[in-house]
């Protein structure tokens, strides 16, 4: 991965700022490591560590009730933790912006990640979430920019799935080294 490809979290951070996102909820993922650091360092953002991804759906709903925009960062396994609360997003037509780093998808080394990773798009779609994909580093910021416009402009729940090919972790050892 060259330096430019490695800088996608910076572009993503600028995109969230331009979209007027004020609250960021996250359960850490190796793929979101840099973006989480950028968000935590920004005192104009409220960056909330969650004990489970489901909490983020409530956070984002509350933020919107209070007039603020939120974004949620999670790994594909966390999508499964959100399912019932996505029903509330749909019933109330809350805007929702989820940035999901994929596991169990391209080059996965942990078999336990595969079932939820493979089911992630179908699960989201079953709950009425618009699923969009970013398959290359250069696509991520533009994809999230478009997703944010769709979410907040058209009151939709939108998930951008960031391909495991972009994250590029190939082994436990490599993940531990990050």
């Amino acid at each position: 991965m060259n330096a430019k490809e490695d800088a996608w979290p910076e572009g993503l951070y600028r995109t969230l700022k331009a979209a007027k996102v004020r609250q960021v909820g996250y359960v850490p993922d190796a793929g979101h490591k840099r973006l989480i650091e950028l968000c935590l360092a920004d005192k104009a953002l409220r960056t909330v560590v969650l004990s489970t991804e489901e909490e983020g759906i409530g956070l984002a709903a509350g933020a919107w009730l209070g007039g603020e925009r939120a974004a949620l960062l999670m790994q594909s396994s966390g999508v499964g933790n959100c399912v019932n609360t996505l029903g509330t997003v749909r019933e109330c037509r809350f805007p929702l912006l989820m940035l999901v780093t994929m596991r169990g998808q391209k080059g996965e080394f942990n078999p336990w990640q595969v079932p939820m990773g493979q089911a992630t798009p179908a699960v989201l779609q079953a709950m009425g979430v618009v699923v969009q994909e970013a398959n290359a580093a250069a696509d991520i910021a533009p994809a999230v920019d478009a997703a944010a416009r769709l979410a907040f402009g058209s009151y939709q729940a939108v998930a951008v799935l960031i391909s495991q090919a972009v994250i590029g972790i190939k082994s436990f050892q490599e993940q531990a080294a990050r």
Partner: protein, 196 residues
């Protein structure tokens, strides 16, 4: 110790002269209690999302730091989102209060006993999670102090209020989620809410 407080009296006492207090009510009995105390566009009663009431309160409190936010929910609902107490404790929202109306039962499904009936102490959990003001409340005399803490106290505030396990008439709020969201935002944010 047998609980003596009645849940409707608790909600009424805490919500009297509520002013510009923002209220999130957990699904089931607490949504009916808040409605019985007087429906308001600044109440957001939940009909689903069990376990999410406290987190909705957190997002709202962070977005509206100059307003006070009260989450009023049941013991079963709070137990489903216990981790959110840790999340809120980390954020330390000064303007957020969470009141658990604890009848030690799942009231909508046949009054089955919850964990609190077996002694799980939610106030101690909240204290351990960083709520600076976390109390177990059993008597009517403590309610005015709790109401004061909700409106003025340094949060996050937590109270577990033991109430009688009773079946009482339903007092239902509107159930259209889109309507509840829109009326809340309009009452809080004014006309710009429709244009954002």
């Amino acid at each position: 110790m047998t609980a003596r407080l009645n849940r409707r009296d608790v909600a009424k006492a805490l919500l009297q002269e509520r002013g510009d207090l923002l209220v999130v009510a957990g699904l089931g009995s607490t949504a009916w209690d808040v409605t019985a105390a007087g429906d308001s566009p600044l109440s957001f009663p939940l009909w689903g999302a069990m376990g999410s009431a406290a987190m909705i309160g957190l997002g709202l409190a962070l977005a509206q730091p100059r307003r006070r936010v009260l989450v009023i929910t049941g013991d079963g609902e709070m137990l489903m989102g216990l981790g959110s107490l840790a999340t809120i404790g980390v954020q330390e929202p000064r303007n957020l209060a969470i009141v658990v109306v604890d009848n030690e039962r799942y009231g909508e499904t046949g009054m089955q006993r919850t964990h609190t009936a077996a002694g799980v102490d939610l106030a101690k959990v909240a204290k351990a999670c960083g709520f600076r003001n976390a109390k177990l409340i059993r008597s009517r005399g403590q309610l005015s102090g709790l109401r004061r803490a909700i409106h003025q106290g340094a949060g996050p505030v937590f109270a577990q209020v033991k109430v009688v396990a009773e079946k009482i008439p339903l007092v239902l709020p509107p159930r259209d989620g889109g309507l509840l969201k829109t009326r809340f935002r309009k009452a809080l944010l004014g006309e710009p809410a429709d244009l954002d």
